[in-house]
Symmetry: C2
Subunit: 155 residues, 2 copies
């Protein structure tokens, strides 16, 4: 079963690269042994740097289920998720993921996954992209507003 | 100038929380001292766990510029980006980012940002979400297909 689903994710990745639709990445979301959504990389085709296969598949799966969580779901991805996609899996409460290629093999064909893993793990002030804090007191008001709301929808 | 832009991001966050449109997070993308896109958290409103303020703003900025990269752009976010949003900034080639609240303050009002930072930094096999490799040899075919293509669009 695992291999069948991974083969489908790999087939999406091969098709995507062959047709010049985007990077060589495909992913599917599975729940109760059924495929509920598919995704392939659409970064360059849609001018969307967040349109990685896993993100596309997670967004589609959430639409299919009418939920912002994917409890009990698993993702099969042709490549190890980058930190963006891995974090999206945590936000979506995915149960687990399977992958074919690794972040290091992705680096070998020109993708930044391994580099971004290194950067994310660093303290803000040691990263290559500048990050700085501003107006902490004023920003706290947004969180205070959230805490005051009894009707808020948490996630 | 920095403070003016940050105040706008904070205002988006406060408005979002007050109107129950989503979490208390707002972000704007600035290029050449002009706001080119805005975003607020829409996770619960749109059933999209990836619809964080920064992701919404990055996607909108890319549409506005007709590009999958945002070189020379900066993001002002009412809260420190989570690893998903930070990684999206790397993929988009953002120059820098400013933030108001921190990941630890976000944790204090119930959001998982700090937890996900810890998870992303761990080796695959030590994370709380199961990750496992499958069919490495077959997956390599997707990367080989990519390398064979002379017409591919890299990013």
């Amino acid at each position: 079963m695992h291999e069948k689903f991974m083969r489908e994710a790999i087939a999406l990745a091969v098709e995507n690269a062959r047709n010049l639709w985007g990077g060589p990445f495909g992913a599917i979301v599975v729940k109760d042994a059924q495929v509920i959504a598919r995704g392939a990389n659409r970064v360059t085709a849609t001018n969307d740097p967040t349109a990685h296969a896993e993100i596309v598949a997670i967004r589609a799966a959430c639409q299919a289920l009418g939920s912002f969580h994917l409890e009990g779901c698993e993702i099969y991805s042709s490549c190890e998720p980058c930190p963006m996609c891995l974090s999206a899996m945590y936000w979506a409460k995915i149960r687990g993921y399977y992958y074919g290629n690794t972040r290091f093999e992705a680096a070998g064909i020109g993708f930044d996954d391994a580099h971004i893993y290194q950067e994310v793990a660093k303290p803000v002030e040691e990263r290559l992209i500048l990050g700085a804090r501003l107006l902490a007191e004023e920003a706290a008001e947004a969180f205070a507003e959230w805490m005051r709301s009894a009707a808020k929808v948490t996630y």
